[in-house]
Amino acid sequence: MLLDCKNLTKRFGGLIAVNDVSFNVARGEIFGLMGPNGAGKTTLFRLISGVYPPSSGTVIFNGKNITGFKPSAACASGVVSTHQIVRPFREMTVFDNVRVGAEFGRKDPKHNVTEVVNEILTFTGLAPQTHVVAKNLTLPSRKRLEVARALAANPDLLLLDEVGAGLNPTETSGMMDLIRQIRERSVTIIMVEHVMKAIMGVSDRIMVLNYGQQIALGTPAEVAQDPQVIEAYLGKQFAK
């Protein structure tokens, strides 16, 4: 197992955002994370990537306990996340944005930084915009930049938070193709996605959260038929 999360819980004051969630992800897998708004998906990501320390529970990554690591330390271990709302370094060029990942992520001693950045820009289709200042990019390009930057940090595990949100169907399917290609680079992926068709099509397994709790975990087909999942998404009357 690449990632093994045990009994993760996060409380904010009286509110329980993530409640006793356990799951694991195998190397090379694309693992989907679904759930209605406020189900705790982003919070779960932040527990894994170290933005918040969990109230209880452990995160084992690559056999190493990384619970409560700071984001920069989690990144050094090989866990990198993207952000739900894209957060490029606005005043930097696309090149420099990606350079931040390449410089401060896990260094690959075989390649120099400029090579890595250029390769990733080509891979993500951003090469034509190399010298554009990030704030001037269109939304689809910003989404790609978010992914490119994370990829430059050379992760083993990439957490993608709604990289398809706000994109039209063509752009979304382009993004899903990119995600499949990322897996070819032997990067394991956990992704949160609202576009049902997209996440069902690309994931090997899916976990569904509701009110911070795990309500289903299995292949896309299994999850799609789970009465609890149907209830959470469509309301009680549709559940058997």
Binding site: V51, K70, S72, C75, R87, F89, E103, R106, A150
Partner: protein
């Protein structure tokens, strides 16, 4: 293009270097003193910009580092009898360690903690320095104040005067020129380096930077240390030049205000903006501080409304041209 820029820089340095030679014939050396202070303020402004501009952590208390550099130098010169210029790195070091001691806890966190703390530090330090002699009396460190004052309290400290005053001023002028070049070079190096990339990333979005592996607090503290060191050295130069310092004056809020104002006027977060801002600020300050005008039959000295002008300038720049003079020039050139 690059060559032309280098040519400008070299020309500028050459021009500054000959100023002491011509100053005497023009205005009895006043130009030399003014240039010394301009160069010192350019260094301070550029140094402030490393933490305030690149890292985006506004400091309202950099005057403290300057004052500490000055005091360290005075105390060193008085106590050891060695030439004061030897104390320059020590002054920088003291300022740096002092900055670290409260910079570390406040920079570790996201949010305005650092900026707010800097508002208190100047006042707190001034109070300590004014009362230190009193505090040391009858304490285990009594020997420090036994036969001569340590910080001098309200009456200040007088540095031993050099044998040849004129030669000393001239020497300091060139040291200051060299120091200014060094400061700008350090700032330029940071701007182009991995360090600078980290600072700018943290400035624009700390959380995003951290998820990409940048250890934000380390780089911010490092930036503060470099900045404080350089400002401390500038303070040391000041003490050697004027040969008399007192805590009330060197820790006054006005130096801290100047260090916020100059880079903002010139172009915060850029390489040359802070230098330009310091030049504009210091020359204007020198020309205008004695100016007066009539308002509704009331005579107003410009010196009495300088805070208002500074404040107005800050507000206007933020609202209309956050890039400062440099940003304005760039925009004009595009048109």
């Amino acid at each position: 293009m690059k060559n032309r820029k280098n040519l400008y820089v070299l020309g500028g340095i050459a021009l500054l270097a000959i100023i002491p030679l011509i100053a005497k014939t023009i205005d009895n050396g006043y130009l030399q003193t003014l240039t010394f202070f301009v160069m010192m303020f350019v260094s301070m402004s550029v140094a402030w910009n490393i933490i305030g501009g690149y890292a985006g952590q506004i400091s309202f208390g950099h005057g403290t580092f300057w004052g500490l550099g000055a005091f360290t130098t005075a105390i060193f010169a008085i106590r050891t009898g060695l030439p004061a210029w030897l104390a320059m790195p020590i002054g920088g070091l003291v300022a740096m360690l002092y900055g670290m001691s409260w910079g570390y806890p406040t920079l570790r966190l996201r949010g305005p903690y650092f900026a707010i703390a800097t508002i208190g530090i100047g006042e707190a330090t001034r109070l300590i320095m004014l009362n230190l002699d009193q505090l040391l009396k009858n304490s285990p460190l009594d020997w420090l104040v036994k036969d001569k004052p340590f910080t001098g309290g309200a009456s200040g400290l007088i540095l031993p005067s050099p044998n040849d005053f004129q030669a000393n001023q001239l020497l300091l002028f060139y040291i200051c020129l060299g120091f200014m070049i060094l400061t700008i070079a350090i700032s330029a190096w940071i701007n182009n380096s991995r360090f600078g990339l980290a600072l700018r990333a943290v400035n624009m979005d700390q959380e995003a930077a951290e998820t990409l592996g940048v250890s934000a607090s380390r780089y911010k503290v490092l930036a503060l240390m470099v900045s404080a060191f350089l400002v401390g050295v500038a303070g040391s130069l000041y003490a050697q030049y004027v040969l008399f310092i007192d805590a009330r004056e060197v820790f006054s809020f006005s130096n801290s205000i100047a260090m916020v104002l100059m880079p903002t006027v010139g172009g915060i977060g850029t390489l040359w903006g802070p230098a330009l801002g310091a030049l504009v600020f210091k020359v204007a300050d020198d020309r205008l501080s004695s100016a007066r005008f009539m308002l509704g039959g009331m005579q107003i000295n410009l010196g009495d409304v300088n805070l208002m002008l500074y404040g107005l300038l800050l507000v206007l720049i933020i609202l209309f041209e956050p890039g400062g003079v440099l940003g304005l020039l760039k925009r004009l050139r595009k048109k």
